[in-house]
Symmetry: C2
Subunit: 593 residues, 2 copies
């Protein structure tokens, strides 16, 4: 029931055939990223996922984290699995070698992250949050803080959390009210944080919280927030653990899913103040948080892919086993995979998963060049592309992850609505992904505001040009007429929708907000459709060369066609909604709702 096999072939396709692993392997710091290493890493991650993490996934759902006094008790079995994860070097794998990491590029680390999320989403949130904390510490922490905290966070001997949200400060972090009062070399933190993922557990002997709070002299709003490192147990100069800091989990949320992941209300300073250390400059916490958030957002997008892949595998297996009715062109009773409407659902799932995965690896490639290239132009171009893709990856992949998880239930029919089958858990787990690390609405706002209006559409114009380039290549191959046509309509809509936003925002302040969701979905869809078109070109080329694995390449071409024919046309609905603007959307009075 809980079998999961990492889709290693498609992952290697994304890494080595759709992206340029060789070029990335030549970037400083990525020397380890050779083809055989990558293959071994993916295979080994898949093995741990299949053998250890996936079997624990239903256990986390049924026997979720509990609070006992001031301690959270995680699901039985999770601690041992986490130890295996750490001992295998998986926690440190994505970090730079100079900090003790494995030095693997994002184009590899992202598929590996997908494997963790697919096999056990609730479990995987723990190392995911640790990774965000590490990124912030590397980018903004003092040498002393790094020396004390980084090695154990990188290895995974300690875990990390992000403590942003307060009851009155959700999407609006400007409203953060936790306080930090200076005292000698540290600060005393007081206040309450909510929705703290893996805020407490017993898997490691320390937990390092990255907390947003305000100094006494802080200006109001978003420019008065600072970032603090607050350890669960104080750490002595020699690295030994001291007494428990003045903080505790107060309660756990009762959630629709991810029951294995404790979502804590954390109270800081009930007895005078929790000891914390400033990370980065005073009042500059938001920009430090953005360092963490970009990667966290990409990882949540990848979560959308992972949960979709898992749900797809479960549905495909069921569709091959379940016998029901006869089908046109078949004799006798058949397995339901022979029914065209079940095929439609499976192909939709498969095409979305492969499109999402390719989009994520595409963002990973941009991240690798943006962070590691020593060519300033290449670096800047990729930074711009990455910034544009982050909200699309996070927003679109999580929305589609939910669509796929819901389709998996539908393929199961009545059995899908029953918990024992397992499809239900993916559906419930997936529902969080469009909410945390910034809702889809926040991603959409980021896309239209910071990523399009701020540079007046330059980054989007570059993306459009790259997609048109692929359309031209596709046009030279007769068999891909449908892909060419559909992608051309999609990219035209992406361009005209961007123009609509830029020109109408001048006269109507509501335009940006009104079109943002549809433009986000359009961007994700067309960019994924572009990657699928590129995949079809690569597959055609490999087949023409007589490369091994024709089964895979044939399947890839069919899936790319399906994506273009059946999914990309959604672009027309998004495009029409965008050019309708804000009028009907904003016309009603509050009392008319």
């Amino acid at each position: 029931m809980t079998v999961y096999h990492a889709p290693t072939r498609d992952m290697r396709f994304c890494i080595e055939e759709l992206s340029d692993l060789e070029a990335i392997g030549r970037l400083p710091g990525f020397e380890a990223a050779e083809s055989d290493v990558v293959q071994a890493v993916i295979e080994e991650a898949g093995r741990l996922a299949t053998e250890v993490l996936a079997p624990l996934n239903p256990e986390g759902d049924r026997n979720g984290a509990r609070i006992e006094g001031d301690d959270v008790r995680e699901t039985p079995g999770f601690a041992a699995a986490y130890r295996q994860f750490v001992d295998g070097g998986w926690n440190s794998m994505p970090f730079p070698t100079e900090h003790g990491g494995g030095g693997l590029p994002s184009i590899v680390a992202f598929p590996v992250a997908e494997i963790w999320q697919a096999s056990n989403m609730a479990f995987s949130l723990c190392p995911m949050l640790s990774q965000a904390a590490v990124e912030a510490l590397i980018a903004h922490g003092t040498a002393e803080l790094q020396k004390t905290y980084l090695p154990k966070l990188v290895s995974g001997d300690w875990t990390g959390t992000m403590d942003l949200t307060e009851p009155q400060a959700g999407s609006d972090l400007a409203a953060v009210s936790c306080k930090a009062v200076p005292q000698g070399d540290h600060y005393l933190i007081t206040g309450q944080k909510i929705f703290i993922t893996w805020g407490d557990h017993q898997m490691t002997d320390n937990i390092i919280h990255m907390v947003l709070a305000r100094l006494p002299d802080a200006p109001a709003g978003v420019k008065g927030i600072s970032l603090f490192l607050v350890p669960k147990f104080l750490v002595g100069a020699d690295g030994t653990l001291g007494e428990r800091n003045d903080m505790r989990p107060v309660s756990l949320e009762h959630k629709i899913g991810i029951h294995g992941s404790p979502t804590c209300v954390m109270s800081f300073g009930d007895n005078g103040g929790a000891v914390g250390y400033l990370v980065g400059e005073k009042h500059n916490g938001m920009s430090c948080m953005f360092t963490m958030m970009n990667l966290a957002r990409l990882h949540v997008g990848i979560e959308g892919v992972g949960i979709a892949e898992r749900a797809y595998q479960r549905a495909a297996r069921y569709a091959k086993e379940r016998v029901q009715g006869g089908a046109a062109g078949e004799t006798g009773r058949v397995t339901i995979i022979h029914h065209p409407d079940v095929r439609r659902m499976l192909m939709t799932m498969k095409a979305l998963v492969e499109g999402m995965r390719a989009l994520c690896v595409c963002a990973g490639s941009a991240m690798d060049f943006a962070l590691h290239s020593d060519d300033p132009k290449e670096k800047a171009r990729n930074r711009e592309r990455l910034d544009l893709l982050v909200p699309a990856v996070k927003g679109w992949c999580t929305e589609e992850g939910q669509e796929v998880a819901s389709l998996a239930i539908q393929v199961h029919g009545g059995m899908g609505y029953v918990e024992e089958t397992g499809a239900a858990q993916h559906f419930r787990d997936a529902r969080i992904a469009t909410i945390y690390e910034g809702t889809t609405g926040i991603q959409a706002q980021d896309l239209v505001g910071r990523k399009i209006l701020r540079d007046e559409g330059r980054a989007m114009a570059n993306l459009v040009a790259d997609i048109r380039n692929t359309v031209q290549k596709i046009a030279q191959i007769g068999e891909f007429d449908d892909i060419e046509n559909s992608l051309r309509i999609g990219v035209d809509l992406l361009e005209s929708s961007t123009d609509f936003l830029i020109s109408h925002q001048r006269d109507d302040v509501h335009t940006a907000g009104a079109v943002s969701f549809d433009l986000l979905m359009l961007t994700g869809l067309v960019t994924a459709g572009w990657q699928m078109a590129r995949a079809a070109l690569v597959a055609r080329e490999k087949l023409d060369q007589g490369a091994e694995g024709s089964n895979f390449y044939q399947s890839k071409m069919v899936t790319a066609k399906f994506f273009a024919q059946h999914l990309l046309p959604r672009a027309r609905a998004y495009g029409a909604a965008i050019t309708a603007g804000s009028a009907a959307m904003m016309a009603l009075d509050e009392n008319q709702f």
Copy 2:
């Protein structure tokens, strides 16, 4: 938290302004359906829902039905609420007066059903299934069976169930294997049924099961199934209850939602055979079932509307209370209803709910004329329309009900993922509606097979003509340009997609299955969009006449515009997917999934 107010104004609009209540009130049997009676019925139903049923809804979720020995114990409080429901005459309200019913037409009964579903979906499944059993008994039962069972089923003193599904026979009822052996004036039934909604409970002193089974001489397949009435307690000639029949609930399903509704595995004949009585002719059980199924399918479609209305109300209330961030054009912190993207979600929900409700009442009107008209042509025309609309109502409204329920979570942000808020329950409850009473795929198959291909598109052509008629009327009013344009594109696509299906099905047996889902969604969307366009016309006319309630009519016009601008364009995505046909969908081998 659990407040629900029936949307009585919009319901009366659908009944009296969008449909022709006066004409329906003149049909034989509907004499009671006068405007003031209708208004009183809707208001009173709303009161019971608000005061009794809605407050029990979260209780049903948290403290669902349990099995103890051979008895199912329903949620505490449900029995008393059911007694109030019966004593108020609500169970008998939709039935014909000659059988002790209230004689209210479907255009009224459907909105009342929506009120029950919205306030407490799990509870309302019980009278909904009873109603299906009553319909079958009225249509196919002998006078003797009717005399014994009908009065108590109509009043609600007994409840009814539908027992179709078996483990190997889900969507494919041809595989039913339960046995019925004749013995004197009755039959002995043996076998197991699954997914039996409200299969057992303690709210009434008898439960009447309508069971599909095979006689010993039955041919294989769907033409060898007969329908039997199997009471939980045997009923004597004088109406007194005798011993318990040989049947019992074996277990309850552990489901994602509707925990208050016991979903039973029922075992018949463990001790020799349960006493059952033939309903209708031998081997004709499927057509008897279709009598029950049509109404049940419409009611599940209405469930989609009800759960969507409930989720919408909750989200709108939260959006008016929750303060978060600033908004363009506003000063200071604002409630989130001022954020355009939250508006987009609320308007999407509102427009879908109103479009779905109008579509359901439109189907109700067709049902009223089809069943009660004494003009054969009017009767036939409405029967044809009803048959076409049933799969669209069931399929489209349940799919969109889930979209709306999911949007309600999204409006709540992180609080939506937490169970205590209540939005989560609607999301979990709603997920079943695209599955039971025939999955969306089964509805789609019914639409393309029985409702379009069988009459070579005649019923659809009539629908298309009616919609074009509205497009013409709309064109005469300048302010509705957007509605005209969008509805014209939609109806063109409905026509061309139907043509595509009919012409391609001849050469490719997979066409019907491959296009069925998209054609179903297209039909539901465009038909609802048509009703919203009609609603805009009515609202404009009422405003021009200076009718009371300009606030409502203004809001209706805006909502109709939003539907046309932001939702109807989805027709383009469905249309493009349809004309892509089955090629890419069916191309992969089983091993490529």
